[in-house]
């Protein structure tokens, strides 16, 4: 996983509530057996018209947002299915950070596994950032994960919360499977206890 330390980039405004994972990447694009290449179908239904041409009204089809690395979104972003194809599509497009009042749980989790930083900030702060994102070429926002701050285009810094463990993994690009495998002993001890306490579980 690519580490996430600092990021300065164009922030795109997407002021919609309840953006679901079907909207981020429709089910018909989930037939891939790869993690890559999904960016071209990111937000497919709202980004493209029925004839396949770009919908000029959609923010990511406009300059400078074609190069957006940050998304400012509405509440409950990423609701719906557990498909990790949603963060894969965002990442493949170039989005490394999504800022919203809140996120659906599974999507939130999936972001961290892919080097994407989801930041929860209060509604009124998101509205300020939404205004910043509407500044076109001046919509550059900076994120400093180490210091846990978002820096607005006017230089104002806004603090945010992040789980210490997830922060650690993101900063260092750590594969948490590798970390868990180091706990082999504890897992084996659990399995031994479970086998005697609940023998029916391993009968399947």
């Amino acid at each position: 996983m690519q580490p996430f330390t600092q990021l300065t980039g164009i922030a795109a405004p997407l002021p919609l509530a309840n953006v679901d994972t079907d909207k981020i990447i429709p089910a018909r694009f989930l037939k891939t057996i790869k993690r890559t290449g999904l960016g071209k179908n990111l937000f497919d239904a709202i980004r493209f018209r029925a004839d396949g041409s770009e919908n000029p009204d959609f923010v990511l089809n406009q300059e400078p947002y074609r190069r957006a690395e940050i998304l400012i979104a509405g509440p409950n972003f990423g609701c719906g299915s557990s498909r990790e194809h949603a963060p894969w599509a965002l990442l493949d497009f170039g989005i490394r950070c999504v800022i919203a009042p809140d996120f659906a749980d599974i999507f939130h989790n999936n972001c961290f596994k892919n080097g994407i930083l989801p930041i929860r900030l209060p509604q009124e702060v998101c509205e300020l950032l939404m205004e910043d994102a509407r500044l076109g070429p001046n919509s550059r926002i900076s994120i400093d994960l180490e210091r846990q701050v978002v820096v607005r285009p006017n230089g104002e810094e806004i603090g945010f919360e992040v789980d210490p463990f997830r922060k650690h993994c993101l900063l260092h690009g750590l594969d948490d499977i590798g970390l868990t495998m180091e706990k082999q002993g504890a897992i084996e001890a659990y399995e031994t206890r479970s086998r005697s306490a609940q023998p029916w579980l391993s009968a399947g």
Partner: protein, 469 residues
């Protein structure tokens, strides 16, 4: 922790913690890992690339359901990408030694139907699957939740997950349900009340007389759509109904193991005085047959309701989103929802693809005909559900009424196989999501119960099942 009253969730959580990290994150042991073809290929690829094995293939189970055609599949899958995904799963389960039901096996079906059906899902278990509707299995008194593909890989490699404990939420549905009101209406009502983000960060425990009175199929329907209320998991305390349901299923414990399991399962229900971070109370008498009108599962009204008026919404952003929903759904403010003509009726999915659901649809369809111009399809949730329905003669009733009788799979719930809505088509669907494009690009979905879906098929428009007497 001992001595303090705990919830069902707390008890299962506590008993599965392998290790607690300083920031409260827990390494949680997973008792059952269900996998399917869409969210697992990249996880198996990850294992292969790192030279890792599946730690506990005996606790893992695989089935193909999302991509499979629901027409005759003795000749295999025609669509090349779908075929590749299913073949990839077949290669992975063979390479890693994971038990698998092939698409020609009568036990094949939607992963969330066959888990309980086979006795693979049991009370007190931690159950995960790379699929958000894993919450279904919580109906048995398990902690069951959906995970992403990276987490699928983590479970395959370690049989554990890194998780922070969720908050507890109790939804108490008291009283009784009126005639024609089903588990589907209960959960749609709940989502309408708390909203699609209402359960975020929480595990929902459903309680109260109405929930106790539901059969196991109904409880699964309720828990299934917990994710549509934002909760990763929904659960119901196991009781005698649960134990009777499990007893005798192929993977359920027997003999002395059954007795030991039963003793533990009986200790699981939440203690009196256990703490919930949020409590919601709903009266069963207030629930009518429900239908969704918009493009979020929280957009629910009763079948007697009318389409909301965006002009009445003071917030500009919300008004714009309402207008967008009406435009997408081809609706006008103030329209009666029961006037909406349907093109397609879909009975099936992990929400409503069990034998009880097919019986409910058949009871309405019996001796009646599907309205002209309506395509009505029934997709059983598993091969065994299909077989049982055929033994009961439900297929004959439904076919005679004009319904298509198909093979098991996820089908039109998400349209990954050929079963899709065409742009502009309107459906009455027993599935779980009415998102834009969910059942096919441009498709318009109204979520309803199986009986309401059958009623819509017969009338040719959304209709009140209570008129069928």
């Amino acid at each position: 922790m001992t001595g303090q009253p705990r919830t069902l969730f707390d008890k299962i959580w506590d008993s599965h913690v392998v290790e607690r990290l300083p920031d409260g994150t827990c390494l949680l042991y997973i008792d059952r890992h269900l996998t399917h073809e869409v969210t697992s290929p990249q996880a198996f690829e990850g294992l292969r690339n790192a030279g890792r094995k599946v730690r506990r293939p005996d606790l893992t189970f695989a089935v193909a359901d999302h991509n499979v055609p629901t027409s005759d599949r003795s000749q295999g899958i025609e669509e090349p990408e779908s075929r590749l995904q299913v073949e990839t799963l077949e290669r992975n389960v063979a390479d890693f030694g994971v038990p698998y039901f092939a698409i020609t096996d009568v036990r094949q079906g939607i992963v969330h139907i066959i888990g309980p059906e086979q006795g693979l899902s049991l009370p007190g278990m931690t159950i995960v699957c790379g699929d958000s509707h894993t919450s279904t299995h919580g109906a048995l008194g398990a902690l069951a939740f959906g995970i992403g593909t990276s987490e699928v890989e983590h479970v395959l490699a370690t049989q554990t997950l890194l998780q922070k404990p969720a908050r507890n939420m109790k939804i108490e549905v008291s009283g009784t349900l009126g005639l024609g009101v089903t588990a589907k209406d209960v959960i749609l009502k709940i989502i309408g009340v708390i909203g699609t983000g209402g359960g975020t960060g929480h595990v929902i425990e459903y309680a109260g007389e109405v929930i106790r009175d539901l059969d196991m199929a109904g409880r699964m329907t309720v828990c299934n759509m917990s994710i549509e209320a934002g909760a990763r998991a929904g659960m119901i305390a196991p009781d005698d109904k649960t134990f009777a349901y499990i007893s005798g299923r192929p993977y359920a414990p027997t003999g002395e193991a059954w007795e030991r399991a039963l003793a533990w399962w009986k200790s699981l229900p939440s203690d009196a005085g256990a703490h919930y971070d949020k409590v919601v109370e709903i009266r069963g008498e207030e629930i009518a047959p429900m239908v969704t009108w918009g493009t979020s599962p929280e957009d629910v009204i009763t079948i007697e309701g009318t389409i909301p008026d965006p002009a009445a919404e003071p917030d500009e952003g919300k008004r714009a989103q309402l207008l967008r929903k009406l435009e997408y759904m081809g609706l006008a403010a103030g329209q009666k929802v029961s006037d909406l003509k349907v093109d397609v009726v879909f009975v099936g999915s992990c929400t409503n693809g069990r034998i009880e659901d097919l019986r409910a649809a058949a009871a309405i369809a019996k001796g009646r005909k599907v309205a002209a111009g309506v395509r009505a399809m029934v997709v059983p949730g598993s091969g065994l559900v299909k077989k049982q329905a055929e033994q009961e003669g439900l297929d004959r009733i439904l076919r005679e009424a004009g319904f298509e009788w198909r093979e098991a799979g996820c089908s039109m719930c998400l349209g990954m196989n050929p079963d899709q809505l065409k742009p502009g088509q309107r459906s009455a669907s027993t599935s779980n999501r009415n998102f834009e494009g969910r059942q096919g690009p441009g498709g318009r979905t109204h979520l309803v119960s199986p009986a309401m879906a059958a009623a819509a098929a017969i009338r040719g428009h959304l209709a009140d099942v209570r008129e069928f007497g």
